[in-house]
Each structure stands twice: as structure tokens, then as C-alpha cells.
Amino acid sequence: MSIFKEKSVFTRRQFLIGSGMLAATVVITGIFAKLGFDAYAVSDDYIEKRAAGLYNLDEKMAIRKSHENSEILQIYKDFLSPGEVSPVSEKAHHLLHTKYGKEIPAMIEELHAHQHDAA
């Protein structure tokens, strides 16, 4: 039967399937490119409204600067830097600061050692 085999690279069937898929890809990509664009236009609108919500709330707050928060001053005086307001104290460093990337395993070791000291 091989004498009837077409000599082209594609069979007629393969060519039809291929061109059909190509057309579908172009159309679907086009539709989603458009959809994506529209989605962003709407999304900016709700982002702006949520942002306005936070800025309005800021304006209504009695105190608007972190270093004037009475409970912040209290936690430094009572706990983090006893008797004074002194950020980056030893205790603050232990509880409130961290490390990144390849320094983390050593940090975890240090945490374990710290717990043994406390125990």
C-alpha cells in the first residue's frame, strides 16, 4: 500500500488539525489578552477604593505616629528595654529581629541554645 503514501511532510489530515489548532490558539489568546486588559482596568478601581479607606482611617486616628503610641512606650519600658524606650535592645533583637537565607540554620541553633539557657 505504500505506493499511495503522500510524499509531503504533513498528511492532509495533519495539516487540517494543525491549522485548526493554530487558528483556535490565535482566537483564544486574543480573547484572553482582551479579558486580562479589562480585568486590570476594573482592578485598579477597587484597589484605589480600599487605599482610600485606609487613608481616611489614618486621618481619623487620634495618634498618627508610631513613636507616640502609649502601649509601644509601655512595652519598651516594661519589657523590651526596662526603664527606658530604647529600640533594638538585646531582648528586642532576640524577639523582633530575624535572619535570612543561608543564615537561618545557625539562627535556629541559637534559638535552641537560648531555650536551654532559659530552662
Binding site: 490558539t25 483564544i28 489568546t29 484572553f32 479579558l35 486580562g36 479589562d38 480585568a39 476594573v42 482592578s43 485598579d44 477597587y46 484597589i47 484605589e48 477604593k49 480600599r50 487605599a51 482610600a52 479607606g53 485606609l54 487613608y55 481616611n56 482611617l57 489614618d58 486621618e59 481619623k60 486616628m61 495618634i63 498618627r64 505616629k65 508610631s66 513613636h67 507616640e68 503610641n69 502609649s70 502601649e71 509601644i72 512595652i75 519598651y76 516594661d78 519589657f79 529600640p87 533594638v88 528586642a92 532576640h94 524577639l95 523582633l96 529581629h97 530575624t98 535572619k99 535570612y100 537565607g101 543561608k102 543564615e103 537561618i104 539562627m107 535556629i108 534559638l111 531555650q115 532559659a118
Partner: protein, 389 residues
């Protein structure tokens, strides 16, 4: 010793409902979504930063995040546990949307009331820890500036510019792709993790609670916060500092399941001790907010003067990369320092900023990076805007 955690497996999954439309691929900041148009997609957890932008932008609701809702409900029903909760700033201007209220409505008071009705023993506020972050991160920045100016005693401080470290998606991106930039990141933990470490030490002690019996829950606009709380080093209190993170969407579901009439709740305050906050903390939820909050405090501390106008509108806006210069008189050094700041919202825009720093070309002193476009208000844990599709 190593056990599988969320940090290894990731937070976001693409379900069988995926229609292979490729929209998620276009919003993913790191190219972590695999699969060509027409093939069901999957996520490469090595590069995924857990931000959930694919999830909130999926037109078919085919992308989900891991959930701790059942564990939180169990803890609330366990009389032997003291369950405390913190809520991020961005939650309070989005939660109302799940109950039909207009976008951007401030439901801070109703949110506190609903959490109390759900049975949380103490309803605190992440905003307290945002103020604490400014104290620590702001002081760290001042010390790095002193080092640059050659002031004695600050030689061991980190380099400038300093990058913010509140956003766990940005942190993972920096760790994965730019290890050389890590010394530039502020060593300050995020507000969520500062809160967790304080809750099981300072607050447990003041409340007279054994920290082993305390369950610390966090309500976040963010899916990456679920990953952050599970990072193995986040155990400064001797326990996991934050036990469970639920999203704004999940809190809404829990409130609905409990049959609470959210819209008609009275406004309530957060509990005292670690629940009081300022406007500076509130704006953490929007791009440029951490920068503005830090400038308010750094300006007053360095200059010794009181600001007449607390708004630094130059750092506000929605453009992905913004810059500003703020002249700060430094009393101790007797100089006026023009502080150059940069704000990036959208991790796909941060590469150039980082490469300039690594090449020594950057003129900035302080750089804020938030992964989600617009900041946490548009985080992967926020209500999904179904009308978009």
C-alpha cells in the same frame, strides 16, 4: 529533624477546575506557573512566592490555598486554650465586601466585635505590631545612616540602602533569586511575626497565661503569611509564635457559618495591652504606607522637631516604582540629609532596583517593596472581585 512544612510544599494549588486559560501566568510575578496555553497548569514551588495573585485573578476559581479554618474552630471550642487574634490593617477595609458593603468601607469596629462573638479570648490588633516595626526598623535605618556618616559605635551595622522586610513574598523572592541583596534587608520581622513573639512572652505573662496553652491566630489579607508563620525560625517565644493564619475571605466564611449578622454589629475597640495603634500603622496596608510611617517617626526623632503635617504625599500613589527625596535635619550631626526613598509595588518591577544596588549605582537610602500591586489591600487573601469576570 526536618519535617515537611508549608515552607516546602507551598500554599497555593491549582485544582482540576483549571481551564488552562493562561491568565494566572500573566499575573504571576515570578513565572512559577507551569503549563502552556491549553495545558492544565501547575505550580513550581521552588519559585512560587505564595502571594496568591494567581488565586484572586483566576476567572474560574480553580486556584486554592491551604486552610487552617478547622484548626482555628477547634481551638475556639477547646476550653483549655486561650485563643488570641490579630488582624492586619488591610483586612478592615475589605472584609465588608464579603457582606455586601461598598468597597473600601472601614469595618474595623465590626471586625473586632465579630471576633469577640466568635469566642476569641483577646482581640488584639496587628497594627500595634506595625508601630513596633517602625520603632525597630526605623531605628535600624537611623543606625545605618550613622554608619555611613562615620559616627563611632555603628561600624557593625548593615549597608544602605535598607529594604523593608514586612512582605513574606518579597522576602522569599530575595532569598530565592538575589541572595547577595539579603544584607540590605531590614532584620526587623514583619508585624505579624513581631506580634506572635510578643504575644507568647509579654502578653502571656501579663495575662497570666501559660504560653503553651495559648493559640495565636492571625487574620491576614495574604496567603504568603501562612507560609511565613510556618518558617522554622519563627519560634522566638520558645513556641511557634503564630499558630494559624486565616485570610480575610476565610474570616468572612467563619463569621457567616456562625450566623453572625455582621453588618448590624456595633463598633468595638481592640483589647488593651497590645491592641492600641496609630494612623501610621493603619497605612501599612497600602503601597508606600510603611515608608510614610517610617518617615513620620524618623523625621521627628532625627530632627528633634514635631511635624506640622504628618502626610508625606510624595510617597503615595499606585505606580509600580516611585521615588521621592525628603530633606531631614539631623540634630546630632548638625547636617541636613536629603533622604532618597523608593517604593516598589509588584515584585516583577524590583529586579532593576536590586541590580542597581548590587552594582553600586543606587542613590536610595530606603526602599519599600510589597509584592502585590497596590500593597496588602490587593493581597492574595482578600475578597475576590467576581464582577471582574
Amino acid at each position: 529533624m526536618s519535617t515537611a512544612t508549608l515552607a516546602d510544599t507551598g500554599i497555593i494549588q491549582i485544582t482540576k477546575a483549571c481551564k488552562a486559560c493562561d491568565h494566572c501566568t500573566s499575573v504571576c510575578p515570578t513565572g512559577a506557573v507551569k503549563g502552556l496555553l491549553g495545558q492544565k497548569h501547575s505550580i513550581d514551588y521552588k519559585t512560587c512566592i505564595n502571594c496568591g495573585q494567581c488565586l484572586i485573578n483566576c476567572p474560574f476559581g480553580a486556584i486554592i490555598d491551604t486552610s487552617s479554618v478547622e484548626q482555628v474552630k477547634q481551638a475556639l471550642n477547646d476550653s483549655g486554650k486561650t485563643v488570641i487574634v490579630q488582624e492586619a490593617p488591610a483586612v478592615r477595609v475589605a472584609l465588608g465586601e464579603e457582606f455586601g458593603m461598598p468597597v473600601g468601607t472601614n469595618v474595623k469596629g465590626k471586625m473586632h466585635a465579630a471576633l469577640r462573638k466568635l469566642g476569641f479570648d483577646k482581640v488584639y490588633d496587628t497594627e500595634f505590631a506595625a508601630d513596633l516595626t517602625i520603632m525597630e526598623e526605623g531605628t535600624e535605618l537611623i543606625h545605618r545612616v550613622f554608619k555611613l556618616a562615620g559616627v563611632a559605635g555603628y561600624e557593625d551595622r548593615g549597608p544602605l540602602p535598607q529594604f523593608t522586610s514586612c512582605c513574606p513574598a518579597w522576602i522569599k523572592y530575595a532569598e530565592d533569586k538575589y541572595p547577595a541583596i539579603l544584607p540590605h534587608l531590614s532584620s526587623a520581622k514583619s508585624p505579624q511575626q513581631m506580634f506572635g513573639a510578643i504575644a507568647k512572652t509579654y502578653a502571656a505573662n501579663k495575662q497570666g497565661v501559660n504560653p503553651a496553652d495559648m493559640v495565636s491566630v492571625s487574620v491576614m489579607p495574604c496567603t504568603a503569611k501562612k507560609y511565613e508563620c510556618d518558617r522554622p525560625e519563627m519560634k522566638a517565644s520558645g513556641f511557634q509564635d503564630v499558630d494559624y493564619v486565616i485570610t480575610t475571605r476565610e474570616l468572612a466564611t467563619i463569621i457567616k457559618d456562625a450566623g453572625i449578622d455582621f453588618v448590624n454589629l456595633p463598633d468595638e475597640e481592640a483589647d488593651k495591652l497590645i491592641g492600641t495603634s496609630t494612623g501610621a500603622a493603619t497605612i501599612f496596608g497600602v503601597t508606600g504606607g510603611v515608608m510614610e510611617a517610617a518617615l513620620r517617626t524618623a523625621y521627628e526623632i532625627l530632627s528633634g522637631e514635631s511635624l506640622n503635617k504628618v502626610e508625606f504625599t510624595a510617597v503615595r500613589g499606585m505606580q509600580p516604582v516611585r521615588e521621592a527625596t525628603v530633606e531631614i535635619p539631623i540634630k546630632d550631626l548638625g547636617i541636613n540629609l536629603p533622604v532618597n526613598v523608593c517604593i516598589v509595588t509588584g515584585t516583577k518591577y524590583v529586579d532593576k532596583v536590586i541590580e542597581d544596588v548590587l552594582a553600586g549605582r543606587s542613590k536610595y537610602h530606603f526602599i519599600e517593596v510589597m509584592n502585590c500591586p497596590g500593597g496588602c489591600i490587593n493581597g492574595g487573601g482578600q475578597p475576590i472581585r467576581h464582577e471582574m469576570y
